[in-house]
Symmetry: C2
């Protein structure tokens, strides 16, 4: 079946049921960002493989709404599929709702699969479209009937982590969740989001590529904690440990039944952004819903001392791996055949030498010259480009270690840079430094740091279409909420112990892409009559190429920071490098 045939098959089902528009989001019943193959619906329907987007199909239009990171990729992948790219103004914003509102007549029906739509999104669709006389049909899966070889749900093994790794027991975490429930007067709390599940139960697995999570749900009350999971994924010892901590194990697919059987007149706490509408719909009518962010989302984001100590060590391992990779690249470029794909393999191999490495935390973005201009470029055998001793090469990669998660972007000069490349590189570096060295009052939100990171680029009328940074898990998802550093008005404070990435960029289509990314930890700074101030500690420990830097564009404090950072990199990585490697690093990291 071609994509055009699939689209026709969807439209024919829509027509048969009088549906005017069909929405296919990028989600699963856990409202995940990274999806098990079974839920890669957008890829199945349109061929688009990006991690964010929404398909909307009407009788005369089929569009993919996605953000600037994916404009080029989407245009290429949608060619000839019948789908058109619709450029989002604001990342992750459901701008198609306004579009539907303007186009659909009164009486129209909009359909979707409630398992793939969050409670909040369903409510937004309802509140925006129902005043226009448009109704919803929320239990329509038009893909299943035409998806012959649809993959089954994953059944990878799962395992528990000890307190010496995660710093807090399941029992203690459950206590905190229950205290939060009490504050909200919630008798029950439903958790669907897989990273919240992994954090709360100190459980990890391999159900989703790059994310060490396990398909599962939880239903918590003051005296019960029900974990819905395929128990075959756990060995007997781990099952016993869970039961000993007061957890009742139930089969994964019984969650819907359990939610539908909640006692009448009870209160349930549900995060509208992280639970699917399908589970919300089956709640008994008399159950009152308290809608709020999962307490675990906040708890998880604030790393404890054990997690922070592990993370610091993990960053050194990751830095050692990258140092070896960059040294290898410099020494071999122009001598042996090196391509974007072989670089990805080499980076993975360097990390794999490190103790505790489990796998990549996301697919490596390995982009030479113009490929670097695609912020989420994923190299394929077809696109694979050979690197030469010329131009800029961008590599954004990360590792899952049992002791933490890493995510780092570096751009290296392979030779012969243009002035434009050097200026762009220096401006991005300025943005990264200003954002990641900011001092800010308690209560500061990510969008404020985002603005500070962008200013050096705005001053030169340059900008980037993605956020400046995101939260990062502890041996968990590389993208983690609730905080985010981007221009959207997300009202979440940066709290002590939160990890964020800071990664501004500049992308020139057809030319080059630059992004420099470090992970940072929110730590205490001065307290005075103006209040409590926080700042960032740099977690990422890896060389930043100084050869493209135009020093005259840097301010004094930026130069000072860069030299001091490199001093720390040498100091921290040194003990783990060979004499040869250390000598190379010292030379590359020398003060500018």
């Amino acid at each position: 079946m071609t994509y055009k045939e699939r689209l026709a098959a969807i439209r024919s089902q829509m027509k048969g049921e009088g549906v005017s528009a069909y929405i296919i989001p990028s989600a699963d019943p856990h409202i995940s960002e990274y999806l098990p193959d079974r839920y890669k619906c957008i890829e199945f329907a349109s061929g688009f493989t990006g991690s964010a987007g929404t398909l909307v199909i009407t009788d005369d239009f089929a569009g993919l709404w996605t953000d600037a990171r994916y404009f080029v990729q989407a245009k290429e992948q949608l060619e000839g599929t019948g789908f058109e790219l619709v450029k989002l103004q604001v990342q992750h914003s459901p701008e198609y709702i306004g579009w539907l509102g303007e186009r659909l007549p009164e009486g129209a029906i909009v359909a979707f699969d409630a398992k793939l739509i969050s409670v909040g999104l369903a409510q937004l669709l309802e509140s925006e479209l129902s005043p226009l006389g448009i109704t919803m049909n929320s239990d329509r899966d038009y893909l299943d009937p035409i998806w012959n070889d649809r993959p089954a749900l994953p059944a990878a093994p799962a395992f528990l982590l000890g307190e010496e790794v995660v710093g807090e027991s399941l029992v203690s975490k459950l206590e905190r969740v229950r205290a939060a429930m009490k504050k909200k007067r919630a008798d029950f709390h439903l958790i669907s989001s897989l990273d919240d599940m992994a954090w709360l139960f100190n459980i990890r697995g391999e159900d989703v590529k790059c994310n060490p999570v396990v398909l599962s749900f939880a239903l918590i009350s003051q005296d019960k904690a029900m974990l819905f999971i395929e128990t075959t994924k756990l060995n007997t010892e781990d099952q016993q440990k869970l039961r000993a901590a007061g957890v009742e194990l139930e089969t994964y697919d019984l969650i819907e039944k359990a939610v539908a059987a909640l006692p009448s007149d009870s209160n349930i706490l549900i995060d509208p952004k992280r639970n699917c509408y399908a589970l919300f719909k089956v709640l008994p009518e008399s159950v009152r819903v308290v809608q709020d962010t999962n307490p675990t989302t906040f708890f998880k984001a604030v790393k404890n001392e054990v997690e922070i100590a592990h993370t610091r060590k993990t960053m050194v391992k990751d830095g050692v791996a990258l140092t070896r990779f960059f040294k290898w690249l410099e020494e071999n470029i122009g001598k042996i055949k090196i391509t974007e794909l072989s670089v990805s393999d080499k980076v993975r191999a360097c990390r794999a030498e490190q103790e505790g490495f489990v796998g990549e935390s996301f697919d490596t973005i390995s982009g030479y010259k113009a490929h670097g201009a695609l912020p989420h470029y994923r190299v394929t055998p077809e696109s694979d480009a050979e690197l030469h001793a010329d131009g800029l090469f961008l590599v954004d990669s990360g590792g899952q270690y049992t002791s933490g998660t890493t995510d780092i972007t570096r751009v290296v000069s392979l030779g012969n840079l243009t002035d434009e490349e050097k200026i762009d590189y220096t401006l991005v570096l300025k943005g990264m430094i200003d954002g990641s060295t900011a001092r800010y009052p308690k209560g500061t939100k990510g969008y404020q740091i985002d603005a500070i990171s962008r200013k050096p680029l705005w001053d030169y009328a340059r900008n980037y279409g993605h956020g400046t940074g995101h939260g990062v898990g502890f041996f968990l998802n590389v993208h983690e909420g609730p905080h985010v550093l981007n221009p959207s008005p997300t009202p979440v404070d940066l709290e002590l112990g939160m990890i964020s990435s800071v990664e501004p960029g500049i992308y020139r289509t057809g030319k080059h892409g630059i992004r420099i990314e470090n992970l940072v930890l929110t730590v205490q700074d001065e307290t005075n009559e103006f209040g409590e101030f926080y700042t960032f500690e740099h977690l990422t420990m890896a060389l930043i190429d100084t050869t493209p830097v135009k020093k005259e564009l840097l301010e004094e404090h930026q130069i000072k920071w860069l030299n001091e950072y490199h001093r720390q990199v040498v100091e921290n990585l040194g003990p783990h490098l060979s004499a040869d490697e250390l000598a190379w690093l010292k030379e590359k990291a020398k003060p500018i």
Copy 2:
């Protein structure tokens, strides 16, 4: 009746009706910021005269929730009233709702007067408190029975402005409103907010101090525009003009009846933030409500070419008035008796010499030394301090002219500054320059400019508890939405033609206060492959005292800007000054 007796009288009514908590917001039935005397309920109940706050009364606690601008003032004014100050974390945020939720038991009743609570606030109370089993009683005015001499509604005359002043006819504005209604499929549109009314009908009045507005409501449909106003306020000619433009005039207090009589199954557009809950409640049940910002709020914020041209000229007048004031102050300080109050009079007198001056746009903030540390200090005969040739003096003032509204803050050195005063002054200046000279992409929100303004202060671990800026009306309210430059996540783009203030500050209780404020206009900048960029044009034209500046703390671009700005000030004001005045200004404005 003392404040304590009033509080007891309120509590006794609460007790009689089984009410657990009573909310008194700072608002009127138009959800205004500046209130007619009849609605100064917080002042009547507690003595607090600040422009923002909420009283919440329970049986064992009575509190005023207000923001950092008013902490010192509130503490003083609430002394002995039975009310305690509760410090808001976030300006204008209804943090008392969470407080109520944590304290009130299931079954409790929260009461308020629906005329003084916006639709949005009532809905928020409902959505936050009803899941906790708390119910609302929304038609309780416990003040009226104990407010013997409660002032009547104002009855000042009103008048229409010509197209040569405002640049657009009522007919054209109505067309734009109706087009916006059509887009939202609204059959009707209710407007309560007085500045939206004034803008739409090109009408001005004197019903509220400092704000040239008229108490009125409007109910608009595609073929009708009903204006609810005391028609005696308008002369016959203006009444005829309105009728000729298709406006039906109705008595002010008939609005509730008209809303209650809307045809069934119609759609009405209502701004939940700018209409009171009392009018919302009387809507027939079958009427569908489309909740969205008033279209006029956006239209009004984007000034047209005629308004901008008038505003530029008005800023020159205002700058001339201020130049004369500052010259007078410098020449007389230490020679004649000058107090905060006499300064306020002098500033008003200097403005009054200018053509088209109508009155002040807000009560002048005239604060010497420690008084300057109260960001919204309002001098009274009791607090009035004498100025000496020593320390810093802050004056924040503005004028209503028939050709525009001004708002400017300057701090001048009267002599003998401490190093701390100079550093604080220079940091505030840096913040003002960085915010007001920012280049930013189309789509940038006020909170992003706010962060840029704060960074120079944060770098030195200093901060201020108010927003960086606000929108400003055209011969209208000095505070005008929808855009605002503050840390709160207000998702409103800065659009071409919007006027904003940029006014960072540093306040040291008991020592000094510094704030430097200019008004700026969003204008076009470069457009390139990274998109469309905007920047600000400086509207305010007035000397910035350079004597407190520590030049070594300024960056090169900041020095350059300051000198160029002063060149423009001299160039623009020069033709309107006497030779003597110009010579004085030139000397004060010479490059640093």
